[in-house]
Symmetry: D2
Subunit: 273 residues, 4 copies
């Protein structure tokens, strides 16, 4: 007889463990982001942060990253050769400033991705993931009319899901900045709400925990651009992020970075409180 | 302060609950299936069924459905008007014969879908879901050269994921049969392994339970076709379903059906055994 | 030596002619349409109709079809079995009332499709085709909560391209009508501008002709619904159809039909005028 | 009255010319290619080259590029800001060695792209374009486990269309080479067959000309990698490129380049011979 312990694989157990939609931790990431930082109504931000999670030091701040992500999981580090389609995707992430017992951080409100492994892996890390398309300006200077990014460059990112343009952000580059100067909460730790409903009708969720992700080996690209930005939301009957309506854009940035996520720790379990 | 109980939404809690990728139970389905039933190595089937789940009365039987699915969740029954894109998708499902404490059923081994709401909802019900494209023959007789299905019609379905054709199935219709004559385990109850990993490295999963789905209001379309079938698998470095290699095709069928899933019950929790 | 006459294939000549993106005439179609008929500024309509093409008897009328199309070409009538993916697609078409030497007709202004064979075949017939997604309400009554279309049903169609929602149309069904009562110009002949640029810089186009498509074997589905409709356009920096802004919706309809297109005739060649 | 000369737009005439799927020449390109060069049956190559086009100095040579393309047209050089989705795509191109009146060149046999503007623009330049997905290894060193390309790196590219994997190519990098050493016919001029069928049944095509594309401002990236390669074809009932079955892989390369295409010249018109 087969025992449950005979089945292998991080994301859904199977006899060989090779068909898992997501492989084993650690997970390695490299990203390119067009990020727009803005202020909104702090009461709306707070409505997304259930105690013991709390608003952060900048309780009215939201930042949105229009990004391209390159990823590998530890159990298939040769995936760039096995099937490169499994190694990158485009994603939009909405983050807010948050804190846990005085430690400053950021919490993801919603994301849209275009690959299954990113959607599942995100759910495992507590990201509220759905499918959508993200595009951002991506010049390749080997094209005679695509100058490299620099002072004066204009960039745009957008998100589209279920046939609707959800949002657009722009950046007009005015200066280069050191990576460490990316403002709070961009570089802060990740506090996410990990959630998995029960399939029993009206039962409490099977998973409802506050988690902090552990990262190591962080690095960033040399060029970190900053400048004037803009963010625009479009209405949708089936989205609610528009409640975080931009009141004032604080900054806009373009940066690349990477890290290894070794796993997470459970800060709080709402099922046992 | 926001409390966890202030957040709403079946799939992931949010202030308004309107952006959930999947809405509330019950869930309502209508489907069109090209199904191929075949025999394989019973040891391979058994390797997917961890006790107390067991092989079924036909321990060597697999069936694969190439389907089109039409669905609604209870909290947004008007979704066909709000956004029709959220109401249908194409899916391939691999099922095996199984049993639980003598009750005969079927268990899903793997599925590929093309919409996020189907992927997430499937994970909540214990389906091992990934993204892929499914197509099946779909004649529309208002086209002068697309005769309605009938004796002699030939049909094909296929599945493609991460850039690879995974499988193809065919049916040559020879007769009409009553819906109730669809062979075991097609019409049997669903016993699935519901799984959600922990994000703590090396920790046991957060959810690992055997569930049975509850259905009501089952109905089927009038035309249920049967005939000669064929199923062909293609190799992939990142899939393992090919271990269920077809030895003998038992039958091939085309049918439509629908039901309401009211929720599930937990038959066994591997975390507490 | 190979001669040009050795190469075969309707849409791009090759040694075997089997890889053609579009196969030989005649072409057979079956369609499902949510159509919205409205009035706009007749000067804008006229700006799309170069003489000898002229405005039609309803010079201010536009209709937009959100559709699902099922098609076959004569050289591969078994394509539903060979590869069903090549036999259907979703498309939005914008039509205006037009006329040629007193004969009433309709002219396509712009269309968006989601398959290559439809895009190429459309270009060959004089349709201005681009890629985009179209969805329309598509109830399947085998789903317990999807009632068949009837009086009181509400339907929506939408178009999305390059990440932007372009338009939406709705229908609230109030009655059934005979197919022949679908208003002008829905059932009228097709007069299109067939165009293919030269690759020589600044040269006149290689093809610029007014064509009329020839149809036979027309048929339609039994149910033809009519009712109250709405159409809404969204702005885009890279589309111009919004100039045909709806002033008054005349009607909204749901119908299915099919035909065989045997080819076209050249009514006028702008290159030789 | 509107005159045909009132309509603007490179790809299809319209009142404003802003919705054209492809804008004006010149066109600017930047590309990244994984290229595999191999020998096949010279008779098969010759079957694709109708006189006065002839086989080239390497009559049995084929090369296949799995690429990512970044492009702009002259009339909307700010497209990277207007809508970045319109500025890049992934493409596989099959080329053979060819010649015209003694001038050595290359001719495209077939290509698969994933954006409409690339499909239409390709048709205008004489490329036999269809839709498909292409992926190639794309390391981003900001990911801790994605080393930059170098000696020992392994790369793979693949093409998938209408739900079938069509081909795969691999490269194991052994050395760096100067760009100018990329072997014939990779860097040679482009001789393509430009073709547009008539819509009149059984009529000769409206366009059937041999064209040579004019390029300027060519440049390339610094790193040009070479090494051991492999190419594998998969069967399909609706493709014929498999006739160019690889007999011997000559080389495999990874390079980036760019140029401006100013237009083309007609070398021969089959309609007037």
């Amino acid at each position: 007889m087969t025992k449950i312990s005979d089945l292998k694989g991080f994301a859904y157990p199977s006899p060989q463990g090779v068909a898992a939609v997501v492989g084993d931790l650690p997970w390695h990431f490299g990203t390119e982001h067009l990020g727009i930082l803005f202020k909104t109504d702090p009461d709306v931000v707070a409505s997304y942060l259930p105690e013991p999670l709390e608003p952060g030091e900048h309780p009215d701040v939201v930042f949105i990253e229009f990004g391209k992500w390159f990823s590998l999981w530890e159990s298939q580090l040769d995936m760039m050769f096995i099937n490169p389609e499994r190694t990158w995707y485009q994603e939009t992430v909405i983050w807010v400033s948050s804190s846990f017992k005085g430690e400053q951080g950021k919490t993801c409100i919603q994301t849209w991705v275009d690959k299954d492994f990113s959607m599942a892996r995100g759910m495992f890390m507590g990201f509220n993931k759905k499918f959508g398309q993200t595009y951002k300006t991506d010049p390749r200077p080997v094209n005679p009319k695509m100058a490299p990014l620099g002072i004066g460059s204009k960039m745009r990112g957008w998100t589209c899901a279920h046939g609707e343009r959800l949002m657009e952000g722009t950046l007009k580059i005015t200066k280069k900045i050191p990576y460490a100067e990316l403002p709070s909460p961009i570089l802060l730790p990740l506090f996410n709400i990990r959630y998995f409903p029960s399939i029993v009708k009206n039962a409490p969720p099977s998973v409802c925990e506050l988690v902090k992700m552990h990262m190591e080996d962080s690095r960033n690209g040399e060029d970190v651009w900053a400048g004037e930005g803009d963010i625009k939301f479009f209405p949708s009957e089936i989205e609610e992020f528009t409640r975080l309506a931009p009141k004032e854009v604080i900054g806009a940035y373009y940066y690349t970075n990477g890290c290894t996520i070794t796993g997470g720790e459970i800060l709080h379990n709402w099922l046992t409180e």
